[in-house]
């Protein structure tokens, strides 16, 4: 599984190879990673170095508190990164927003109806793809209109699904 993790605007490309091996950029690291006492306290031994940190979920990612220093981190797999890129490229606070499918998939659920008022971050469509259900969220507040798909329908990449204005 490949991830792109961002800390302080620095992106780290990571690939989880198996239980004990991770690729970080060009290096392959041997890791031993355990939760301590079932708590959000984690012990990581990586190539002999021992680290411990609290890792807390955050609304938009994770907080890693290690050695008295807080590292806010965003972890995205390729799919999520594409989702965000797609959302980011079309977002604009004033203009109409057209939700486009970031990947081919199957519409599972559309939890909104035309005319609904939605908040920023509210889920507009749940799309099944890469065997996972993906939430497509609204990048801004507005009114939903022109829903062009329905649950059960297959969609192509970059197909417009609905609009928010």
């Amino acid at each position: 599984m490949k991830y792109v993790t961002t800390i302080d605007n620095q992106e780290y490309a990571l690939e989880i190879l198996d239980e004990h091996h991770i690729r970080l950029g060009e290096q392959t690291l041997t890791v031993d990673f355990e939760s301590v006492s079932g708590q959000p306290v984690f012990s990581l031994i990586v190539d002999g170095k021992s680290y411990e940190a609290y890792v807390y979920p955050e609304e938009d990612g994770w907080q890693v508190l290690m050695q008295g220093r807080l590292y806010p981190a965003r972890v995205e797999d390729e799919r999520e990164k594409r989702l965000r890129a797609a959302a980011g490229s079309t977002v604009s606070e004033s203009a109409e927003y057209h939700l486009k499918s970031p990947m081919p998939g199957l519409v599972v659920l559309i939890p909104v109806a035309e005319g609904d008022r939605v908040e920023k971050g509210q889920v507009l469509v749940i799309l099944e793809s890469m065997k996972m259900q993906n939430e497509l969220k609204s990048p801004r507040a507005g009114i939903v209109h022109r829903i062009r798909v329905k649950p059960g329908e297959g969609v192509e990449q970059r197909q417009t699904l609905l609009s928010v204005q």
Binding site: I7, L24, F33, V41, L44, M66, G68, Y71, V123
Partner: protein, 503 residues
């Protein structure tokens, strides 16, 4: 005296309980509905419910507390700090009820509790105070402009009714003073409905240094040297150390401050433990600030460098015995630092954090003392102050104490509430703190948690690894639930999806 009621909660109640137990004295705890499972209730021989969680319905109910003392047969009440500790009326009510109040006489509490009385009393005893016109009533602009050069510049214009910086102006010279007086009065008028102002010398680079004193009923008063408490945020002390790195080897200054503190205490016939707070300027002039007529939060650092058990001495004094020590017995051995561990988030404006402590590992080992009233499973409620533990270390030198504090902070684990431990870690790494180069405005004006990290090795790639591994597992777990659901009932599937959707 063989039974003492402790009219407090949290770490200080536990601290006092321990002293009593070690003296073979029985203990009576009082508690609010929020504190049924608090350590002080668990450790005491007896425990009585006061009422609902809010302090005014529980720990401030002096009448109930005195009634419980009488009912339980406690001959004395130890008030700790906060709550009823500096209420002269409560001390008087104890006396009226025939119960010993472990602290000073009501008259001494009252004298030191009123700022103007305190100021005038200590001035009369020859104790230096911050020069100014406070306590001289309403003065006109003309009067103030006339007296200003005697006080000296820079100085502060402060609202008589004031607080929180409202109606306060810093004045550099006589020329700009009239305009600043006007604006200060306008602001004071609009904020407090009272345009009166007074002048106070601006103590630049002020250090907050306080002297612990002990006085027995036989008239012996001694000082246990100083504590430096300049690391403050919004006038809340966060880190204290003893001895003061500012006083350092200046034994003459130490002795002069000690003697002045003793004089201030004697000026109100002080008995029991107390603390005289001073502001010290960069030229080592010191000014009386106020007297705390009770045990201080930070008393342990004095205990560690002097070997005196202050709480046991308090009880000894209340019993009418002589102090165990004379002034010449009091030495300084090594250095001690206290970090106040508060349930507040240093990354979120130090907002208080509440919740149940799910897990905790205390730092232990040589030279480490933790005074705390919490434990895994205990709930931190919003009703009381956020102090959950005092982490205190001793070292042969100040440098060793700092190194020890670093390792203790790094060992400390608390899960369930956010704490200010990272703030303390940053401070222990700060070059200015290490060099003893700080004043009371340091935290607010010249300290940033990000800046000090410069000296530290950062590990963003390790943090990235950790976050990624946790995220990966969290996702794997969700996937697993869905898979389990598929074999089981269709409900599970939707639970799994729902969980993922609401992550």
């Amino acid at each position: 005296m063989n039974k003492v009621l402790i009219a407090n909660r949290g770490e200080i109640a536990v601290r006092i309980l321990r002293a009593c137990r070690e003296l073979g004295i029985e203990t009576v705890a009082v508690y609010s509905e929020a504190d049924r499972q608090a350590l002080h209730v668990r450790y005491a021989d007896e425990a009585y419910l006061l009422g609902p969680a809010p302090s005014r319905d529980s720990y401030l109910r002096g009448d109930k507390i005195i009634a419980i003392a009488k009912k339980s047969g406690a001959q004395a009440i130890h008030p700790g700090y906060g709550f009823l500790a500096e209420r002269a009326d409560f001390a008087q009510a104890c006396q009226n009820a025939g119960i010993l109040f472990i602290g000073p006489k009501p008259s001494a509490i009252a004298a030191m509790g009123d700022k103007m009385t305190a100021r005038n009393t200590v001035i009369a005893a020859g104790v230096p105070v911050v020069p100014g016109t406070e306590g001289e009533g309403s003065l006109s602009d003309e009067d103030l402009l006339a007296v200003a050069p005697q006080i000296g510049f820079p100085l502060l214009v402060k609202a008589t009714a004031g607080g929180g910086g409202k109606g306060m102006r810093e004045v550099q010279n006589i020329e700009e003073m009239p305009a600043l007086l006007q604006s200060a009065r306008r602001e004071a008028e609009s904020s407090f409905g009272d345009g009166n102002v007074y002048l106070e010398k601006l103590v630049e680079g002020a250090r907050h240094i306080e002297i612990q004193i002990l006085a027995d009923q036989q008239g012996n008063t001694i000082y246990l040297n100083e504590r430096e408490c300049s690391i403050q945020r919004r006038h809340q002390k966060l880190i204290e150390e003893a001895p003061s790195p500012f006083i350092g080897d200046d034994e003459d200054l130490r002795k002069r401050m000690g003697c002045v503190a003793v004089k201030a205490a004697q000026s109100v016939g002080y008995v029991n433990a107390g603390t005289i707070e001073f502001l010290v300027d960069k030229d080592k002039h010191f000014y009386f600030l106020e007297m705390n007529t009770r045990l201080q939060v930070e008393h342990p650092i004095t205990e560690l460098i002097t070997g005196v058990d202050i709480v046991k001495e308090q009880i000894r004094i209340a019993r009418g015995r002589q102090l165990s020590y004379q002034q010449e017995d009091i030495k300084i051995n090594g250095a001690a630092i206290e970090c106040r561990i508060n349930a507040e988030d240093p990354y979120n404006g130090f907002l208080p954090s509440t919740g149940k402590i799910a897990h905790s590992i205390l730092p232990t080992g040589p030279g480490v003392r933790v005074d705390t009233g919490v434990y895994p499973g205990f709930e931190i409620t919003p009703y009381y102050d956020p102090l959950i533990a005092k982490l205190v270390v001793w070292g042969e030198t100040r440098a060793q104490a700092i190194l020890r504090m670093r390792r203790a902070l790094e060992e400390y684990r608390i899960v369930g509430v956010r704490t200010n431990i990272p703030f303390h870690q940053a401070m222990m790494d700060s070059h200015r703190f290490m060099g003893g180069q700080y004043d009371t405005r340091f935290v607010e004006e010249r300290f940033s948690m990000q800046d000090v990290a410069e000296g530290r090795t950062l590990h963003p790639e390790i943090a990235a690894l950790m976050a990624t591994l946790v995220a990966h597992r969290s996702m794997a777990r969700t996937a697993q639930v869905v898979r389990r659901g598929e074999r089981d009932t269709s409900n599970w599937k939707w639970v799994g999806r729902w969980e993922r959707m609401h992550r």
